[in-house]
Assembly symmetry: C2
Homo-oligomer: 87 residues x 2
Amino acid sequence: MTLEEIIGVFAGIFTTIAVLPQIIKAVKTKKVEDVSPVMFGILCLGVGLWTVYGIFKMDWPIIITNGISFIFNGIMLGIVLNSQSKN
Amino acid sequence: MTLEEIIGVFAGIFTTIAVLPQIIKAVKTKKVEDVSPVMFGILCLGVGLWTVYGIFKMDWPIIITNGISFIFNGIMLGIVLNSQSKN
């Protein structure tokens, strides 16, 4: 692996897993009042489009990292919307 | 522009601007208690590395979108850390 490939792999891992601490915090505290659902809606749209882009190009790293991001951000969006519908 | 290029441009725009509604919400409400600073720390690290990756490849779309993301996520991280240091 070249240095730029290693940097790309770590960049992909970090941007993909970034939302996990937010999901864990939300589940633990059961509080998401200050979290913007619009942010996670736009993120889902964005990484969803990146996944489609990856499918067009048959580029597996783009498909996998953005596909996983779509699921993670979708879970967080669901948590926020579910909490709002209860209040 | 091809269809995949158009999808790529919108994907880039959405993932880059996604954090703005969260910044606006935080500034308006002055409340960020439920927001995970770890999420924005990891995001800064990830998009920062994507920017370095783009510089290695001299790929301007990667440099510009992730460079802007780095600034936006850095602002949000600053807001959260600043709020925590006051409490």
